[in-house]
């Protein structure tokens, strides 16, 4: 980072010592994971820059926007509709929760056997190291898994502005009605917070911005799966992660620019992996920044990741919202239509997920799927059993892994991943 942001961080109430420690770990991890890759697309320079300024320039942008009266809304789940936040001219940021930081503090509130994602949210908050959490005018929690919904009860005591969104657990008519009621309530809350009314016009604008962002990501998803792969899975994952907190319009432009470059590479048959590299999908729990452990192991073992069936990935970005409608309610219905299709494992039953996986495996010519559950994540871990069974029946090999954010099991994980790649090659 070129500018010194310590003053801004102090104003936000960050613990400067802890925060410096976090930035060090992040910087080192980033260097080792991303910058050592060879022949990266030039377009990645933009995303490298965003990452290097993730606690600097981007936070300054948020603060400048707040000074102009715009609101910042932080969230943990892809069910929080960004379209509505943009409609009130707000800024939506995903709170990352991808690092083992402050777990000792988190365990004062949470049992040890809580998934890393939840612990990380608490850890970041309690160590006062996340400028996004501290900047947010509203933090949206959601009733998804038991771990999350119960821990938000405690989290609400730690932050001043937690807003709870209820979410359905079944894909039924009553489930959809619940989602609608909750999105309407969220609309009101946003209007109150921002002092701006949601209108057909500004909501259409919000939908358009998010649709364009998703279109760009869909384009990337298609291009990255070329053979040979023109971009590493790690870099593509990074773009999917940055999706959550960059300025959406600027992000869309940068993704499209990178895609132009990838198209050129593809026409020249230029890849970052050899043409015969095993091609894998990663599926399961979301991978938030800086959780790059498993993808790094996979790609260092010689396979290329050609897609993520994850909320940081296609489960989160699949489908656009229909923009036609003459009233806010009509548009809201379109939004609900889109979000209600998300096949998160908190739904029961959740058959679409394995269908999507099979579809993705075909579309991207994947040789296998690495299923990834965070330790203590019941929804994904339990669901993995059936996903594995159905995929294997469809002759798609599956490696089922359970891990967390610590580096302890790197050795075992790479043995398993290597053996899986050997199995695919047989």
């Amino acid at each position: 980072m070129s500018t010194d942001y310590h003053k801004m961080w102090a104003e936000l109430g960050l613990d400067l010592k802890m925060h410096d420690a976090l930035l060090n770990v992040l910087g080192e991890g980033y260097q080792q994971t991303f910058l050592t890759q060879k022949n990266r697309p030039e377009g990645m320079q933009y995303f490298d820059f965003v990452m290097s300024e993730v606690h600097g320039l981007r936070i300054k942008e948020l603060r400048d926007a707040q000074a102009e009266g715009r609101v910042v809304v932080g969230s943990f789940c892809v069910f929080v509709p960004e379209e509505l936040i943009l409609a009130v001219d707000g800024i939506s940021v995903g709170l990352c929760t991808g690092a083992e930081f402050g777990f000792d503090l988190a365990e004062k509130y949470l049992p040890r056997n809580t998934c890393s994602l939840i612990k990380s949210a608490f850890g970041f908050n309690l160590s006062k190291v996340c400028p996004y959490m501290e900047s947010a005018d509203m933090i949206v929690g959601e009733n998804t898994c038991d771990g999350k919904k119960k821990s938000y009860e405690e989290f609400g005591k730690l932050v001043k502005n937690l807003y709870m969104m209820d979410l359905p657990q079944t894909k039924s008519a009553s489930g959809k009605a619940l989602l609608k009621a909750e999105y309407q309530r969220f609309q009101k809350a946003l209007e109150e917070l921002s002092g701006k009314k949601i209108t057909v016009e500004n909501l259409k604008k919000g939908i358009e911005i998010v649709n364009n962002k998703r279109k760009a990501i869909h384009r990337l998803a298609k291009l990255r799966a070329a053979d040979p792969a023109p971009i590493s899975g790690l870099d593509a994952l990074l773009i999917n992660q940055i999706y959550f907190y960059d300025n959406p319009v600027r992000f869309t432009e940068s993704v499209n620019k990178t895609c132009d470059e990838l198209e050129e590479r593809i026409s020249k048959k230029e890849g970052v992996f050899p043409p015969d590299a095993p091609r894998l999908l990663v599926s399961g729990c979301p991978m938030a920044v800086p959780n790059w452990k498993l993808p790094t192991i996979i790609e260092q073992s010689g396979a290329v990741i050609v897609g993520e069936e994850s909320c940081v990935g296609e489960r989160g970005t699949r489908n656009e919202t229909v923009i036609e409608g003459n009233s806010v309610e009509e548009l809201l219905d379109n939004i609900i239509e889109r979000y209600f299709q998300i096949d998160c494992a908190i739904f029961t039953p959740n058959p679409d997920r394995k269908d999507h996986l099979i579809e993705m495996a075909e579309k991207y010519k994947a040789d296998g799927v690495v299923h990834y559950s965070l330790q203590f994540c019941q929804p994904y871990d339990i669901e993995s059993h059936n996903v594995e069974k159905e995929l294997e029946e469809a002759e798609i090999p599956v490696l089922n892994l359970v891990t967390d954010y610590s580096a302890e099991d790197m050795g075992q994980l790479s043995t398993r991943v290597e053996a899986f790649i050997e199995r695919i090659k047989e």
Binding site: V402, T403, E408, D409, G411, Q412, T415, R416, E418, A419, E422, R423, E426
Partner: protein, 252 residues
């Protein structure tokens, strides 16, 4: 053609040397913090044409000329299949890992599971418990084999299990019955891994712990199936390495 297979495990390093189709040398050494040095000692004076490494130290041979690297899982699949062509299920209990591997009829890996982080239920666990009971490793297995009943061990964690054992002894429990309990706890762990991949005949038990007569016997009782073990269950991984090199040669 001299083909070397090397299995660099957490507790021991295993070496086999083949001249064409004949094994001309084998060796097993205790590992230390410096597995590079021990490997060099083992290989001293062996003019190999090709070396294949497996085991948790396999990456020692990354980017080394005339060397290839395969995972333990693949190495065991190949090694066991050559000794027991009808094998469909492999259990390997080594120094710090337990693995269960299922094979298809042609010996290709289908599914595999491994213990994660923790050393409970592995060879290291047995060593520590033998120590706590003041047995040598061979006495330990023998005592458990002979015991008529078992003292139940409730803790899976090595550290807690050790104090549980000590407290059992201080309460006057029989040493060999405690030994039996420890073996049963290892088997129940291994059994749950086997269940995940399915117990299809033939079942072959390998790795250093397969030398232990009590583990094998209890395993047979628990699975209600016949369990096979090769003469030297410890070198199966190294053997698999040599077979791998051979199959690559054929392909080229």
């Amino acid at each position: 053609m001299i083909n070397v297979g090397l299995d660099i495990g957490s507790r021991t390093i295993k070496l086999v040397v083949f001249k064409d189709y004949e094994m001309i040398h084998q060796d097993v050494r205790k590992n230390s913090f410096d597995n590079k040095q021990i490997t060099e000692e083992l290989l001293a004076g062996i003019p190999y044409d090709h070396l294949t490494a497996t085991g948790y130290g396999r990456h020692l041979f990354d980017n080394t000329p005339n060397c290839s690297i395969i995972s333990e899982i693949k190495a065991f699949a190949l090694g066991v299949h050559s000794v027991f062509p009808h094998c469909r299920t492999i259990l390997d209990i080594g120094g710090q890992d337990t693995k269960a591997i299922s094979l298809d009829a042609r010996g290709r890996m289908k599914k595999f599971v491994m213990n994660d982080k923790c050393a409970a239920g592995t060879g290291r666990f047995l060593e520590i418990m033998a120590n706590a009971l003041n047995y040598s490793l061979s006495e330990f297995g023998e005592a458990a084999f002979q015991a008529d009943r078992a003292e139940k061990i409730n803790n899976m964690c090595t550290v807690f299990a050790e104090s549980e054992v000590i407290s059992l002894l201080s309460k006057g429990a029989d040493r060999s019955e405690v030994a039996r309990g420890i073996h049963e706890s290892i088997v129940s762990r291994a059994f749950s891994q086997l269940q995940k991949i399915g117990l299809e005949d033939d079942i072959v038990f390998v790795g250093g712990v397969a030398f232990n007569p009590a583990v094998k016997k209890i395993l047979q009782d628990v699975c209600r199936k016949k369990i096979l073990t090769p003469d030297n269950p410890q070198i199966i991984g190294a053997l698999g390495c040599v077979l791998y090199a051979r199959s690559q040669e054929r392909e080229n």
